[in-house]
Symmetry: C2
Subunit: 573 residues, 2 copies
């Protein structure tokens, strides 16, 4: 029996400890400078791998990260497990219902931002395959398909993170961007699964590509329909009859492991199965926020950093850095994705700067492109220098995304600033409701009495929006909203609840301050301009306390208006 020796165990634990420690430290540092964490995590691998440690202290490098033997296998096992779990979390973040709810806009933008890069990438790869770093032995068609798909997929986790940082994640603009990204990701992964099978790296069981394509689509369809329903029905059962949240966490991970094993078995990569299972799990409204938080925290902060650091170990980034190729890939990638996103948004009737913001938002790649690149590298389709260029492109687009979106949004005509909103708002200082459903009704009834519109209709519209995606934005704030026919000007009601009401916020805290926003027309995404300001104000931990103790409407307005100190950048919290 070949168990790990004591030396193997020591090296494995030391290597994992160093990787995780450095990856997380550099990841946190990157975030301090408003950069994606993945940047720092990759860098940790670059430092510990052949690029730096291997060059400066080859003995230590070979001791910690040997190129053969049990330790290499152990590390590969941990990295494989890590990427499978990470893809599950990426899948959980996908909200299928968002796609349906945002309907046409998401579809138009999603398909446009997918098709344009795909076509342009495919054409470029067919015309100049060698300049783009096709591996000698690789099939031209397979390479072109890979390159095309690598340019088309967005990085949903990075996009979601950027929108959260900007306080836009649950706004209408944020939902459009997310739904477009979900659409292009789902389509992209399915196409990629097919390409993977064409690469011939998996066991094909004597079946042709047609069989693999069929299996892939059948798996995705089965998991997203029957599987999704079964998961949705099983979670409440587990919550009732087994230890919660432990049972739901285990359930999610078991399904992910089995789904991943299955897709690996049918000849496509394990991560595809993990992603699809993640989508099915995340889509269940029975999955409670607390469970999600535990899964996301542990996996995003332990497994994901280990995986991204392990990428840096595989390649000497300095040796394979090709500045010309990097610039070429970056130019093609940004050009076609910006065009795709912008044109799609204009097509669905968005104003100019909103469309630009959407294009820039969808342009961020990040984790997904790197995983694709690694698979293609291992399958012998691309050269190492293209892999390095893809990694640099993925990071650069993610780094640009936040500031660029901010720039575009600042360019939009500003209609409503917070101070103005507050001065015109209605206030309810003592909400009586205890539940989410009740409080919407309480506030809309109050508003309808004051402003004379149909309370039932307004309540229905706000609740429908609420069911699509809860509007709790965390830090005790919720922003339910809807469009109401017949309103002549936007109406804001600020409700205060001492005991707090569960709005299923990302941070799990009940909402104490509820901004109900009713808007007159369809074309009013920019009416939510002040939402990021509200989010920023309540990030100050003392603010909520002061608001809850406020005696009068005037004091409330003063507090919140002063909290908005006019700074434009995200606060350094």
């Amino acid at each position: 029996m070949e168990y790990l020796t004591s030396h193997n165990v020591m090296v494995m634990l030391l290597a994992l400890g160093l990787m995780l420690g450095l990856a997380r430290t550099l990841g946190e540092l990157a975030q301090r400078f408003h950069q994606p964490a993945v940047l720092g995590e990759l860098l940790a691998g670059v430092i510990l791998g052949p690029t730096i440690l291997g060059n400066f202290n080859p003995e230590l490098g070979a001791l910690l990260f040997p190129l053969h033997g049990p330790n290499l296998i152990a590390l590969d096992a941990v990295a494989t497990l890590s990427v499978v779990l990470f893809l599950m979390v990426a899948g959980i973040e996908v909200d299928l219902s968002t796609i349906w709810k945002q309907g046409r806009a998401g579809f138009k933008i999603g398909s446009s931002s997918m098709v344009i890069p795909f076509v342009m990438g495919f054409a470029a790869a067919m015309i100049i395959p060698r300049a783009l770093g096709r591996h000698e032995g690789a099939d031209n068609l397979v390479f072109a398909l890979f390159f095309a798909i690598a340019l088309s997929i967005s990085a949903l986790p990075v996009i979601a993170k950027t929108l959260m940082d900007l306080g836009l994640y649950r706004s209408d603009l944020g939902m459009v961007v997310v739904s477009a990204a979900v659409f292009s990701d789902l389509a992209g992964w399915i196409v990629f699964a097919i390409i993977l099978s064409m690469m011939g790296s998996g066991p094909t069981h004597g079946n042709g590509i047609a069989m693999i394509v069929f299996n892939t689509l059948a798996f995705a369809a089965a998991v997203l329909t029957i599987g999704r329903l079964l998961i949705h029905k099983t979670i409440p059962f587990l919550q009732k009859y087994a230890k919660w949240p432990g049972s739901v966490i285990s359930f999610a991970i078991v399904l992910t492991l089995l789904g991943a094993a299955f897709t690996e078995w049918i000849g496509i990569h394990a991560i595809f199965g993990a992603f699809i299972v993640g989508v099915a799990i995340g889509d269940s409204t029975n999955l409670r926020e607390h469970t999600r938080v535990i899964l996301e925290n542990f996996i995003s902060y332990i497994f994901a950093p280990l995986f991204f650091a392990s990428i840096g170990l595989k390649v000497d980034f300095a040796e394979h850095f090709d500045a010309g190729l990097v610039i070429l890939v970056l130019a093609i990638a940004c050009g076609c994705k910006l065009a795709g996103g912008y044109l799609g948004a204009r097509w669905s009737g968005m104003p100019k700067w909103d469309s630009m913001a959407i294009g820039v938002g969808l342009n961020s790649r990040g984790a997904m492109e790197i995983i694709l690149g690694l698979l293609a590298l291992n399958a012998g389709i691309i050269r190492t220098r293209l892999f390095v260029a893809l990694v640099v492109m993925a990071i650069a687009t993610s780094v640009i995304s936040g500031p660029a979106m901010k720039y575009c949004l600042d360019k939009r005509k500003k209609t409503w600033r917070l101070r103005e909103v507050l001065s015109r708002a209605l206030f309810m200082q003592h909400l009586k409701s205890r539940t989410h459903r009740e409080v919407i009704e309480e506030i809309t009834q109050f508003a309808s009495r004051r402003k004379g519109f149909d309370a039932q209709m307004a309540d229905g519209a706000v609740w429908a929006r609420e069911k699509a995606l809860n509007t709790g934005i965390g830090n005790g704030v919720a922003i339910p909203h809807a469009h109401i026919k017949g309103l002549t000007e936007p109406l804001v009601v600020v409700g205060i609840s001492k005991q707090g009401i569960d709005f299923d916020s990302p941070d799990g805290n009940p909402a104490h301050v509820i901004f109900l926003i009713l808007m007159p027309s369809q074309n009013s995404i920019e009416q939510l301009e002040f939402v990021p300001e509200i989010a920023r104000i309540f990030r100050d931990p003392g603010m909520m306390e002061r608001v809850l103790l406020a005696k009068s409407r005037l004091e409330l307005i003063k507090l919140m208006a002063n909290g908005d100190n006019g700074s434009n950048g995200p606060s350094p919290s």
Copy 2:
């Protein structure tokens, strides 16, 4: 480069998925029948391993769990990582301050329940080593030391779990049992580390046993003093400047991996380092309950089941089951541990049935003995049949523990039942305080005005007890208490807080109902008899709502007295 092939990846994911799925399912089932989860988790390994699957379908067994090659190494790597992380969580549950606070009682019981089994086990192993299953090649002294220590160590996680199930975890009796277990565990692990080095399984770097003993003690001392302080200071820094709870989770795991690597390097087992680092982390009052919950949930429900299932894969339990040896080991183990615990408790002045309960509580082994046994098996010190006997003993003692403690506690003279307590209690239906510190003051001041004792002294005593270990027992209930000189009879004040006060409860919920208990003398553990009843009542999710809506003192008493429906078993929640 020997990466895992696609087949290896598929097998690994499938094997892990099946192990985790079956382990968790059987673990949950075990808990449904009020048995420790580890019983079901081990059984999952027995089913998937050589005992059952390997016997009935050898081909499938060899495919899923091959006896050589990359998959064995991958599985061993995951199992090793799992046990390291599990020992960290076990360490986190140890509360060093409990040892000091319970002072003499804990020390007396701890040392007695450690020394008596150690001496008896040592003697038995020296007298009948072959009958007890010493491996032929093993040194007699090493075997005797191993057997002695295997009988002495308690299973803190199982004990903690049993006390929580009985609603006694934060009672004075619970604290005595926990502090005794902590004491014997710490001492036991240090002794075991020394034995491990004598086994000669680790790399000794040319140093003798003396050096290893010195290194072990120096490591433990350094981590528990300087390391503990540094961790305590670093956590708030991380919470302030980095993503929380992600940063604290990573920090804990990085330290654990490095500590484990270090102890493996100095020639003792990695799990010792992980345990000591866990103790140091868990001891910091800066470690928030939310972080602890994420670590414990993910590790207890993912890594621990994988590890315990992997044990079952190693051995054919049917083939090596020796009924005579099992009975012998069980008799020696129970006899000496019960004697040790009982005598220690009597020595520190406890009543008879309390002492019996403590002895029974400390008798549960569980996870720890199994890990020790596995190490000894791998090091060639014991025969497989002794390993099997130790596993059976560990499980049997854990299974007995809960019902036996309950039996002993029921035998004690019951002084105060809940109904009686409530009928004599003072009530404060509208607590004004918002913080933990304030509410203690508010309630003690109210009580002192009514009963005429020194408010400041009472407040100080309750707060001192509170600082030692928070008395939030979860489900919105807290039970602050203290001994007050000059009181002639026990005094209970029931305070209700609509908005809830953070008592750092295990479930993270604020306390809405606060039972302040002031007791006249030192010898009054049994005054808290009604605490389990309170815990049971509030497990009903609707109870808290009804209590918060109650209009009068009388309605409150009726609600709670009827909630205590006289059932004696733990509720099936």
